[in-house]
Amino acid sequence: MSLNKTITGWLIALATAAVSMQAQWIKYPTAGIPRLANGKPDLSAPTPRTKDGKPDFSGVWEVEHNRPCPANGCDDMWIPQEFLDIGWSLKGGLPYQPWAAEIVKRTQTDRSKDPNSQCLPTGLVRMYTTPLFRKMVQTPGLLIILTEREVAYRQIFTDGRPLPVDPQPSWNGYSTGKWDGDTLVVETSGFRDGLWLDASGSPLTESAKITERIRRVNFGKLEVEITVDDLKAYTKPWTIKLTQMLAPDTDLLDYYCIENEKDRPHIVGK
């Protein structure tokens, strides 16, 4: 499928950047990490908690490696299934509206419209499926997500403020979170039109509302249940679950898609 070919093009860009960096990943012991007798991080240790007893999501996270490696070996940037198709775990796939199904069909032969190929922001869903690190920093009243990609960030306000009535359209939207037991429930609205949720072209419109239910299962694993309610693009709301794995004893590097982007002219488009 030509989709795979063009994704390979996208990966080449990532891999080229990665080669020179590989020898220099930042090695720094993560503070407060429980360790096994051999000194390795104990990733199945209990969920850490903040002073107020809530789970602490702070840490460097990466995608779950749920996609088998190609025959010629794993890529440096090992994409998860959801990078290619955010609805891959759903029986029958995503409930596209006809125009949205058209975009996905077109994208099989034309990836030039992908915001990712133009070094534009990922938006909050693709942020979780991007095979580069992100770091959560939980402070009182505010959860921040810092991303290696584009050295960007997202704010989730947990200080009790309401969502704005008429938010400024943006790539990340406006997010507020509140606790439901040990789960942080994050509501986001105020997206701009034109976001994609995956490399297949699954769109998101400005009328979308996204709910994330974030739970730290244990020290090494985060579960993010995402419900997309966007009846302009989908015939009904749908829910998927993403897993994020802790990347211990490291920190973020900077990654600018635009720094040395050579692929775009080679991506087939119309």
Partner: protein, 254 residues
Amino acid sequence: MMFRRLILVSVLFAAVPAGAQWFKLPTPGIPRTADGRPNLTAPTPRGPDGKPILSGIWQMNGKYLQDIAADMKPGEVPYQPATEKLFNSRRNGAGGKNDPAARCIPGMPKLDALPYPFKILEAPGEVIMLFEGFTTFRQIFTDGRELPKDPNPAWFGYSVGKWEGDDFVVNTIGINETTWLDNAGRPHSDALHLIERFRRHDFGHMDIELTIDDPKAYTKPWTVKEDLRLIPDTELLEYVCNENNKDYEHLVSQ
């Protein structure tokens, strides 16, 4: 200056639709005068450890982005000869296309000086700066770690911070050598070591005393003092430089 135009054009485009929609949100804990306005000359807030609290949304005096030596007299910047030659070749907008910021990568210390607000957050083990401009961030580690011996060159370098009395002192090295110190085009080398002293004078005012220690590019360290003001009762907006950058193609290349 070409870059000034770039910034202004971007500001105008962003401001037109956004003008009516700046976030209006009362900043919690802000002292207010009798008429309800923020009292920006109230005393510096302090944490339980007695240290000044730096958290808040701030914005730097815009003149330092254009000219980091705006407050210095002619001849005071201690250029190495090659640095001065390069600087002179970039003046009046020449070579604006070679400034990575024109391609949406601002670098340090320019990032601090953008004419947009940024938020300082004091988190366990690090201070984080979130910038509205370019929607980007800096991490300043405060967990006592040393600067790395041979850091990966990075656009904003590698930063560690510690308190010295009421000054928060940040040391940064490993800054990608292609960035410019200001829009005027002052160069630096890969040996650049930045020392920032954050000093909050009162509730609404702060200085960054910035020392540029770069023996390859300058004959001795030199220091400038940049002033910032608190931006109360608001929140950061999203700014994606690469979303609609129309200026790059019009900038001059060397």
